[in-house]
C-alpha cells in the first residue's frame, strides 16, 4: 500500500513523504522524501531512501536507522532532522 504525509517541521521546512509499504508487517518497500529542506551533500537523500527500504515503520527503528546513516555519511540537514523525518514517515501509516 502507498500513502503520503505532509509535515511542517517545527521551526523548519515542509516535508512531503510518500511511502510504499507492506500493510501486513509495516515494512517499507519504497520511500520518496521530498520537500523544501536542505541536506548536504544533497545526493545522500537517495541513499537515505535506499537504506530505509526493508525498515519497519516504527519510531525507534526509523530513528535509529536514519541517525546511523546521517552519522556514517556525515549528512547535514537544515530545516529538517532525524526526528522530523521519522515523524513524517510515521504519519504515512496513520
Amino acid at each position: 500500500m502507498r500513502s503520503q504525509s505532509v509535515y511542517k517541521v517545527p521551526q523548519g521546512k515542509l516535508l512531503k513523504i510518500s511511502v510504499e509499504y507492506n500493510k501486513r508487517n509495516n515494512v517499507i518497500k519504497n520511500i520518496w522524501i521530498t520537500g523544501d529542506f536542505f541536506a548536504y551533500p544533497e545526493e545522500t537523500i537517495e541513499l537515505i531512501e535506499k537504506k530505509l527500504r526493508n525498515t519497519v515503520i516504527d519510531q525507534e527503528q526509523l530513528l535509529e536507522k536514519i541517525r546511523s546513516v546521517i552519522t556514517e555519511y556525515h549528512i547535514q540537514f537544515i530545516g529538517v532532522d532525524a526526528e522530523g523525518l521519522t515523524k513524517g514517515i510515521l504519519m504515512c501509516k496513520l
Partner: protein, 254 residues
C-alpha cells in the same frame, strides 16, 4: 589593496542555461581556474525553479506552465519552488576555505545575505535576514536564497523581487489543498513584498544590479571586477544545459 573578485552580468537567459552557468562557474572555481565570482542574471522566458528535493508533480502545474510559456527546472540546491519573473537573481561561487565564508552553513547564509542587505540599503531599503534562507522587509519576504557545497566550493543563489504577481505564481504552482487556495493566495500576498512595492515606483534591473554590486563589495571588503565567462565555462555550461538541466530525466527525477 583589496581582494578582487569577478563580476558577471549575464543578462537574461533560459532557466536551463541559468542553472547550467551557475554549475559551470562552481566547477571552474573548484579547479582554481576562476576567482570567487558574483553573478547577476534574469530569466527569459519566466520560469519556475524547484529545490533539489522537491517533486515536480507535487509542486508544478506543468500544463499551466506550457500554456503560459513558463519553463521549469530543478536546481542543484535545496529549498523551495520559486517563480522567476520580475526579479534580479544573483549567485556567488567561492571556495569553502575562503576566510570570508563561515564553515557553518547557516552562518554562511547569514554572511552572504548581509551583502544583499547592504545592497538593499543602497536603494534606501532596510531589511533583515530571517534564518534559514530569507530576507524580510517590514516582516515580508523580499528574497529567498539557496546554497550548495560541492567539491569544496560554495554556490549560493537567490532572488531579489522587483515586483511580484502572486496570482500568476499560484496559477503555476500546485498547493497541497485546493480548497484553501484562495486563502493561501491572500496570505502570501500579505507575506511577500518587492522593491517596487516598497519604493512605490518602477526600478530598473540595472539599478538593482549596481546596488547589489556595492553591497557585495562592502560586506566582503573586496572589489568586483567586470568579467566574462571563460571559454571553458561556456563549454561546460552548454554541456550541463544539454545533458542535465534541460532533460526530463533531471527535472522529473523526483
Amino acid at each position: 589593496m583589496k581582494e578582487q573578485w569577478r563580476l558577471l552580468q549575464t543578462g537574461f537567459n533560459t532557466a536551463f542555461s541559468n542553472m547550467a552557468i551557475d554549475r559551470a562557474i562552481l566547477v571552474a572555481n573548484s579547479q582554481g581556474k576562476v576567482p570567487p565570482t558574483v553573478r547577476f542574471y534574469g530569466w527569459n522566458p519566466p520560469a519556475i525553479s524547484i529545490g533539489y528535493f522537491q517533486s515536480v508533480a507535487e509542486e508544478i502545474d506543468v500544463n499551466a506552465c506550457k500554456k503560459l510559456g513558463v519553463d521549469y527546472v530543478r536546481r542543484i540546491t535545496g529549498g523551495g519552488a520559486v517563480f522567476h519573473d520580475k526579479e534580479v537573481t544573483y549567485s556567488i561561487v567561492i571556495p569553502e576555505t575562503h576566510p570570508a565564508i563561515p564553515k557553518n552553513i547557516l552562518k554562511s547564509y547569514g554572511r552572504i545575505c548581509n551583502a544583499l542587505l547592504q545592497g538593499l540599503k543602497q536603494l534606501g531599503i532596510q531589511g533583515t535576514y530571517a534564518p534559514i534562507n530569507d530576507i524580510l522587509v517590514d516582516g515580508k519576504k523580499i528574497s529567498g536564497n539557496a546554497q550548495t557545497r560541492k567539491v569544496n566550493t560554495v554556490l549560493q543563489h537567490g532572488t531579489i523581487l522587483l515586483d511580484v504577481d502572486v496570482d500568476t505564481m499560484f496559477s503555476l504552482l500546485k498547493v497541497p489543498n485546493e480548497k484553501i487556495k484562495d486563502k493561501l493566495i491572500r496570505d502570501v500576498k500579505q507575506r511577500v513584498t518587492s522593491i517596487e512595492h516598497i519604493v512605490g515606483k518602477k526600478i530598473h534591473f540595472e539599478k538593482v544590479e549596481a546596488a547589489l554590486k556595492l553591497g557585495f563589495e562592502e560586506e566582503f571588503d573586496i572589489k568586483l571586477i567586470q568579467g566574462i565567462l571563460t571559454k571553458e565555462e561556456k563549454t561546460l555550461a552548454i554541456q550541463f544545459e544539454k545533458k542535465c538541466f534541460s532533460t526530463t530525466q533531471w527535472n522529473h527525477r523526483r
